[in-house]
């Protein structure tokens, strides 16, 4: 039965299977308790974390990793805040040490602090180094299909183009470029950045994306925990719709949903 195929549908990243196709970040929450509840509500199994200097003045805090049990979540350390290949590579080497030889990482090299648009030349350079050093690189990138292909050829294991600027909540600004990347890629393509609400996630999945990564859309909703759950269902809805194969668009002559035969004429 066809529906079973959907039931067995899995996202495969670095050889591991995930039921959830929603990946979430852990930034911008009020506190770690809200973070934990939102991450839980989202159903995400892959969770991004940033790598930063220990804040020595802050006293004995709860650590982020304490609320993210490693048996439950796959951690995805990122390079947010890095503006060069060198910084990004260094950050992920530290992450690898920090997380006990963890090699699955999210690479992002930013172009400037106003747009947080990726710096693609530096991203390509960093990807090359990281892949050589044995990292499994999921890469945040522009929606340029040619450079997306270069990243895949370098050996990145997931291509993650922005839908729109990080933190903008503008949704998918150019579905056509995403389409080009989806058509050509042999590794999973995930939308990363720009999702603002559940329908953006649904639409991303309907386009054929393997998953969606988001942070601000959940953390900065009025009710983050509820939005996290909305995103869970939104991603599932989009994935199922993609697998179900949507009806063709046909403007008109419109097709009646009720039979046109058997209409009893006025007597």
């Amino acid at each position: 039965m066809v529906k079973d195929k959907a039931a067995e549908d899995r996202l495969v990243i670095a050889g591991r299977e995930y039921r959830s196709r929603l990946l979430v970040g852990t930034g911008k929450y009020r506190d770690y308790d809200e973070t934990r509840r939102a991450v839980e509500a989202s159903g995400a199994e892959i969770v991004t974390v940033a790598i930063r200097r220990l804040d020595l003045k802050a006293g004995e805090h709860q650590q982020l990793l304490d609320i993210l049990p490693p048996d439950r979540y796959t951690l995805l350390p990122n390079t947010a805040g890095c503006y060069s290949a060198e910084e990004a590579v260094r950050t992920l080497r530290l992450a690898r040490e920090l997380l006990d030889d963890h090699t699955l990482v999210k690479l992002e090299v930013l172009g400037d602090s106003q747009t947080l648009f990726p710096n693609m030349p530096e991203t390509l350079k960093a990807a090359e180094t990281l892949v050589k050093e044995g990292f499994q690189v999921m890469v945040y990138c522009s929606d340029d299909p040619i450079q997306a292909k270069m990243l895949e050829d370098i050996g990145c294991i997931a291509i993650m183009p922005l839908a729109s600027l990080i933190g903008s909540g503008m949704g998918i600004l150019n579905p056509w470029n995403l389409r080009l990347i989806l058509d050509q890629s042999k590794v999973p393509v995930l939308v990363d950045a720009g999702v603002g609400t559940a329908s953006d996630a649904t639409l991303s999945m309907e386009l054929g994306c393997a998953g969606v990564l988001m942070n601000t859309a959940i953390a900065k909703a009025d009710n983050p925990v509820l939005m996290a759950e909305a995103m869970k269902w939104g991603v599932i809805a989009g994935r199922q719709a993609y697998l179900a194969g949507r009806m063709p668009r046909r403007y008109y002559d419109a097709q009646p949903s009720s039979p046109t035969q058997g209409i009893s004429p006025l007597l």
Binding site: V24, G25, T26, G27, K28, Y29, Y32, T35, T48, V49, A50, I51, R52, R53, L54, L56, E60, Q63, L64, L65, L75, P77, N78, A80, R93, L94, A95, E97, L98, L99, D100, I166, L213, M214, N215, T216, A219
Partner: protein, 67 residues
């Protein structure tokens, strides 16, 4: 002994002046951190045997919330 810790001068008097002792003094023994010393990562297994020197530049790194 003074080291540069996360960009700030840091006075440190435990003996012996190993990295493990510095970390202990910060209350981070066994916590998930990574350490860079003078630009090189120090593996966890080497904390006990890593002697710090005056003016060493140390970075102690943790995972924090991020997207």
């Amino acid at each position: 002994m003074q080291v540069q810790l996360n960009g700030e001068p840091h006075e440190f008097t435990t003996v012996p002046p190993t990295l493990a002792n510095l970390i202990a003094s910060l209350g981070f023994t066994g916590k998930r951190i990574a350490v860079e010393r003078n630009g090189d990562i120090v593996p966890k297994s080497q904390y006990q045997v890593t002697q710090l020197n005056e003016h060493d530049r140390l970075e102690v790194i943790v995972a924090v919330g991020g997207g």
